[in-house]
Amino acid sequence: MWRIIHQFGSPPWVYRFCDRVIPWLLPLTAVALIVGSAWGLLFAPTDYKQGDSYRIIYIHVPAAVVSLAGYYIMAFAGLVSLVWRIKLADLAMRAAAPIGAAFTAVALITGAIWGKPTWGAWWVWDARVTSMLILFFLYVGVIALFEAYDNKTIAARACAILSLVGTVNIPIIYKSVDWWYSLHQPASIKFTGSSAIDASMLYPLLGMIVAFYALFALLMMLNLKQSLTSEYAQSNWLIKRITT
């Protein structure tokens, strides 16, 4: 156990690990995304109520799921960096923030596109959409705070504290937005998802969620490798690894 933790704290080891995993993960993720999209777009049955516009679900929901998980991953990396002062945890946290923000943006954009044919408006103050928007601002806050500090070690500590405070608050925010929405729900747009989704629609969705998690992992590794390269450009181990 301690050996594993020790290895994840060692930049050369993580760099090698990324180097070894990326060539496998990249094609795997690409295939999973393409197969999943094709399945959802062309083979899953048409929804009897919404028609074909529901097919956006196969990117909207996975993006939303992963963006929420991404915040927790970022906060966990922040906790590790606060407690053990591991440089790699800083880098992981720094990598997770923009990826998570991008996934949140994808969820919001696809949600808006989905909303137009479903609700007749690009933007509806639905509970889940609103929560997503708040999550987006939580991510933007972490990124902005990081950029505000010149000293990046201190910036990482500040961001770690902020993301931990956010972690405590996210469940409260989500619950309160649900509460707010249930009280103000306009009768005209009562749309409560598909309560019993058929297996033929569910399997491609689950597949896409797995593919998006793989994509998140891949993006994390690509970004980690990038920040390791810039952080340790003067280190012997990196020069040796690149030049041989």
């Binding site: 062309l42 956006i56 991008a102 993006l219 690509l222 390269t229 030049t243």
Partner: protein, 63 residues
């Protein structure tokens, strides 16, 4: 296959524009997120490589 023809898959009963636009935007975002760190890492690695070769040549000249 849910659709009888290519045209049916494109239009999706009038919702095609929305569905394909959502997938297109997502693909672009994903591609950018993958390509950006790859390119930046590669250019940094090239710099390190060149620096290393320059130093080696320099050492050879000195000896």
């Amino acid at each position: 296959m849910q659709f009888d023809s290519f045209a049916a898959a494109v239009t999706m009963g009038g919702h095609g524009g929305f569905v394909w636009a959502a997938y297109a935007i997502t693909s672009v975002v994903i591609l950018v997120m993958i390509v950006r760190p790859v390119l930046s890492t590669r250019s940094m690695q090239d710099t390190i490589q060149r620096e290393f070769e320059r130093k080696q040549a320099h050492e050879k000249d000195a000896s």
